[in-house]
Symmetry: C2
Subunit: 291 residues, 2 copies
Amino acid sequence: MPVSLYIHRLAIVGTGLIGGSLALALKQADVVDEVVGLGRRRETLEQAKALGLIDVIADSSAQLAGADVVVIATPVAQMQCVLRDIAPHLGARAIVTDAGSTKCDVIAAAREALGEKFSRFVAGHPIAGAESNGPQAARSDLFIGRNVVLCPEAKTDPAAADTVTALWQAAGAQVVRMDAGRHDRIFAAVSHLPHLAAFALVDELAARPQAEDFFRYAASGFRDFTRIAGSSPEMWRDIALANREALLAELSAYMNKLGEIAAALENADAAALEQVFSRASKARRNWKENE
Amino acid sequence: MPVSLYIHRLAIVGTGLIGGSLALALKQADVVDEVVGLGRRRETLEQAKALGLIDVIADSSAQLAGADVVVIATPVAQMQCVLRDIAPHLGARAIVTDAGSTKCDVIAAAREALGEKFSRFVAGHPIAGAESNGPQAARSDLFIGRNVVLCPEAKTDPAAADTVTALWQAAGAQVVRMDAGRHDRIFAAVSHLPHLAAFALVDELAARPQAEDFFRYAASGFRDFTRIAGSSPEMWRDIALANREALLAELSAYMNKLGEIAAALENADAAALEQVFSRASKARRNWKENE
């Protein structure tokens, strides 16, 4: 059943691409009165205010007192500290959600930091991004038609989950709910592993004495395959560590498949190579992003 | 020294994207009188003629007699047969070149098939492509600003190499000469391995019972990383086999690097992960395609 959403005061912790875009989308949808921004860097907050993403810069977490909804959109590695920091200042009815790429670790941190208030925490992951970061990259249409995964726990207040669902829907997203463990396994496979695989390939080349020689002849296939290797090393270090177990399982399955291909190549087994390539090619052609 | 290029009769064997685009570019540059097309499929040749890529459809290799330059732009796996087939019909002054993605194997096939005429064979590889194939995908600007690698051998007539150089330059490309072994090692690293790595990742997912679940949540990172997994399985089977040794060496180096990352992850070694990711991210950002 659709929840009629109205947020008097929305707090955004981390007013970069994700937090800023969400604030902008909710303002445009006219479901929020006032957006308060929090963050480590004053400069970012001032940029966000100048760009109209937020209305008020909070000087400390104490200013969270009147927030109806708090969205944590910082890098994954900061979430534990942020949760501990804001916990004492949350109002009794405040709903807290996040936008991190991994969910089990954030849920564990929220459970520990929020105590009784954990029932009003709804873990979330918007599947959206852009080449650029920071407040200046924010845009109100970033989430339109995108999937947002929410991972409510058994203890989560259903009304809090419904509010967070309505919030992302107001920003134009499609909301899907699933178990946090399943979320982390799926994203280890379709996001975290591809990043690791691209980082590995580029680093392997970059570490060679004649690296420039190789890069010079790289063309469009290389460009596409390695685009994600240009991503933030710190962010991906943290995501990899946060989703370590699921990612190790994916990495191992991937290395097995590469070993299978190496064996087929070693034996000049044309049929085996073609089988792998055909299945992959067919699956890739059938796949439509966010269908 | 620039060679003044003038081709009375150009023969194109395989009038798809590459062969067709080259014919079109050379016609537009006004350096060719007549283009004769050869190929296995009559339908493709008729399409190529209807599109103005070629002027004449050759019914058999015997019609190659008057060709000044023959460009073999078929899939790699067909080159050996094509070379054997055309060899007896080549004129004494005819220059032969190819557009295959691997060079050592094509050179070996040309050496065997062409006999004395091998001195007028110049192995080539245009680093260009497009999402689509076939004559209808051909465009006269496909090679503008692109690298074309030529691999003349010790026995290659320098005048033949200069003519093929001038031909690609007339199509707008930059020509680089290098040893065939070096070519194959470089392209194993920057093209063939990325294709294998993308095929492997997609196949590993596609083979799972819950594959749809995974693909459903894949987003832009996955899209870019796996785009090349949509490539032709037959073509890549043949390229992989043709460049087997160099590719096996690359695959092994890549698997070692992935093993290194797995060990860092296993040990939760944040510094080691960050080092790999940072080096890769920096190298990827510094890389400019065809700079």
